[in-house]
């Protein structure tokens, strides 16, 4: 359920600044211009946090706070003063009535968010449901690693992606970076000196802006204690060195909740083309399997009833791939989609060697496959005999 924040201030400017500050977070900001309105809104909406000014017409903040704290229904709502009324004695007097925190104006939005984040869960708003982030969208990844070769390897390995990889070597630099421009994902070497990886992880999780960032740990396979510790404290995943870049890329995409379907599925000239990469890992096969049915259904829904299953880049055939191809063909049949396979010579030869794949018919090119759809007795692959 969305958190509700009530800002009680006679200044519309302050209420707008508060609204603006919380806009990137999944919460509802309610407004009141004085203590009377504030009490009414609080009783009706039961907010999760009240930001309260002091000097207001009709009923000031001190009176509202006193009434709030004497109401059994409302006294549990945390209140944070947000006021130009400072001065040690004044703050102490109000603190005694019962406030959770006190911000003296002028204030920075960051301070407001940080303090509010200590009292309520501030979850960043994800992009709107209609605009899911894709694998082709830019993203910023921070790698905190004191071995430059590892940073270089990650930068080199992911250079074909639109992701910008920033390499930093110390915890301090990483904190500054995150405060300035929160990245989309952080990778931290678990072997940084003095347990810096875990200190940095804690700081990331306590900052409202980085609280929900995916954080990967980087460590050599044999460091099992560090791996276990990382999993216990809540690292998103642990990547072992030497790094398998393909696997890393898949995990990054999954952690950032990216739509990777465009990598494998495309509509070309009214045909759905499903492309299998050269050497798909188990993670990639799982990804394609996840997208298979929704993508085919989406194509049919849009009026595209033909599919080309392009396997010509495949180097090796194994059971995982055979299962995927069988599933793809079966899904096409279920959805009444006409389909054709494209393969290379070695794949075709390998298929001849298995009982289940012997009857599969391949075309040499995508164009040949597309052309086959027009022919009355198109060489459509058939299911293996039972």
């Amino acid at each position: 359920m969305r958190n509700k924040i009530l800002t009680v201030d006679d200044s519309k400017t302050v209420r707008i600044i508060v609204r603006k500050a919380f806009k990137p977070y999944d919460c509802e900001v309610l407004e009141a211009a004085n203590g009377v309105e504030g009490l009414a809104v609080a009783a009706k909406e039961m907010p999760d946090l009240i930001l309260l000014d002091i000097t207001m017409p009709v009923m000031d903040g001190v009176e509202m706070l006193t009434k709030l704290k004497s109401d059994p229904q409302l006294k549990g709502i945390p209140v944070m003063m947000l006021t130009a009324e400072g001065g040690r004695d004044h703050v102490l007097k109000i603190a005694k009535i019962g406030v959770r925190d006190y911000i003296v104006k002028p204030f920075k939005e960051e301070v407001l968010l940080e303090k509010a984040g200590r009292m309520i869960e501030l979850k960043p708003l994800s992009d709107s449901p209609s605009k899911v982030r894709s694998i082709f969208d830019p993203a910023t990844i921070l790698v905190v690693e004191d071995k430059p070769a590892i940073i270089q390897q990650i930068q080199e390995g992911l250079k074909h992606t639109p992701w910008k990889i920033h390499g930093l070597s110390t915890q301090g630099e990483a904190i500054d970076f995150c405060a300035k421009t929160p990245p989309d994902l952080v990778m931290i070497s678990l072997s940084l000196p003095e347990d810096a990886a875990f200190t940095l992880f804690r700081l990331i999780r306590t900052n409202v802006k980085t609280k929900y960032l995916p954080v990967f740990g980087l460590v050599v396979k044999t460091e099992t204690v560090a791996q276990q510790q990382a999993q216990t404290v809540g690292f998103t995943t642990v990547i072992t060195k030497p790094i398998d870049i393909g696997d890393l890329e898949s995990k990054v995409a999954r952690a950032m909740n990216l739509d990777t379907s465009q990598r494998y599925f495309a509509i070309e000239n009214s045909n759905l083309v499903m492309r299998l990469p050269e050497n798909p890992s188990a993670a990639v096969l799982a990804e394609i399997t996840t997208y298979l049915k929704p993508k085919l259904a989406e194509a049919v829904d849009a009026g595209h009833n033909r599919a080309v299953i392009d396997a010509h880049q495949l180097k090796l055939l194994h059971m995982g791939l055979i299962k995927l191809l069988v599933l793809a063909m079966q899904t096409c049949r279920d959805l009444s989609v006409q389909f054709a396979l494209v393969g290379n010579a070695s794949l075709i030869a390998e298929c001849k060697g298995f009982e289940d794949t012997r009857a599969w018919v391949f075309h040499d090119t995508i164009d040949d496959a597309k052309a086959s759809f027009g022919k009355p007795a198109a060489p459509v692959a058939v299911a293996p005999a039972a």
Binding site: T13, A84, R88, H90
Partner: protein, 175 residues
């Protein structure tokens, strides 16, 4: 209770200087500089010229009541007040035009409230507890505000790029 006469010009100058610096830096990312003492001493009254072509001003006022009593006027030229409002509220100039002067008044009222709040918190910590009043706004291009004779007046001028910001502090004398 210390007497109001114990509030020295130095305390007032330091407080207003710190208040302006705090508020403008925190809320607007700007650092107005206080004009040198000679400039301030030579500052003629009224602090903004009364001429037919004078730049229109938005003047925010907030008072403080308690062991120290007084009020502060914060003069901002209209173009600067507009810029400040846009920055505070994340608005563009056309959006501000559409929203009207009421939005500028509210923004400058709040900026004044913060400035005077910061100033008076310094007085509280120096042993003169007092509370703020609700802000009000004055607009115009050809006016001067005269205090009653029993008030002490302290005028300080600040510069932020080519804009002139004036703080006019009136302090009621006596205990």
């Amino acid at each position: 209770m210390p007497a109001t006469q114990e509030i020295t010009e130095r305390l007032i100058r330091d407080n207003i200087s710190r208040a302006i610096a705090d508020v403008f830096k925190t809320m607007l990312g700007r650092q107005p500089e206080m004009c040198c003492r000679e400039d301030n001493a030579a500052l003629s009254w009224p602090p903004v010229p009364i001429e037919s072509d004078a730049i229109p001003q938005v003047v925010g006022t907030v008072g403080f009541l308690g062991d120290a009593n007084g009020l502060i006027y914060l003069y901002l030229p209209v173009p600067f007040a507009r810029m400040v409002t846009c920055h505070l509220l994340g608005m563009t100039e056309p959006e501000l035009d559409e929203a009207g002067d009421e939005v500028i008044n509210d923004a400058i009222g709040e900026l004044t409230n913060m400035t005077v709040g910061s100033f008076k918190n310094g007085l509280c910590d120096a042993g003169f507890p007092c509370k703020l009043t609700i802000p009000s706004i004055l607009r115009g291009s050809n006016f001067c505000i005269e205090p009653i004779s029993s008030a002490q007046r302290f005028v300080y001028c600040f510069r932020e790029s080519h804009h002139k910001i004036v703080t006019d502090i009136l302090l009621k004398t006596g205990e």
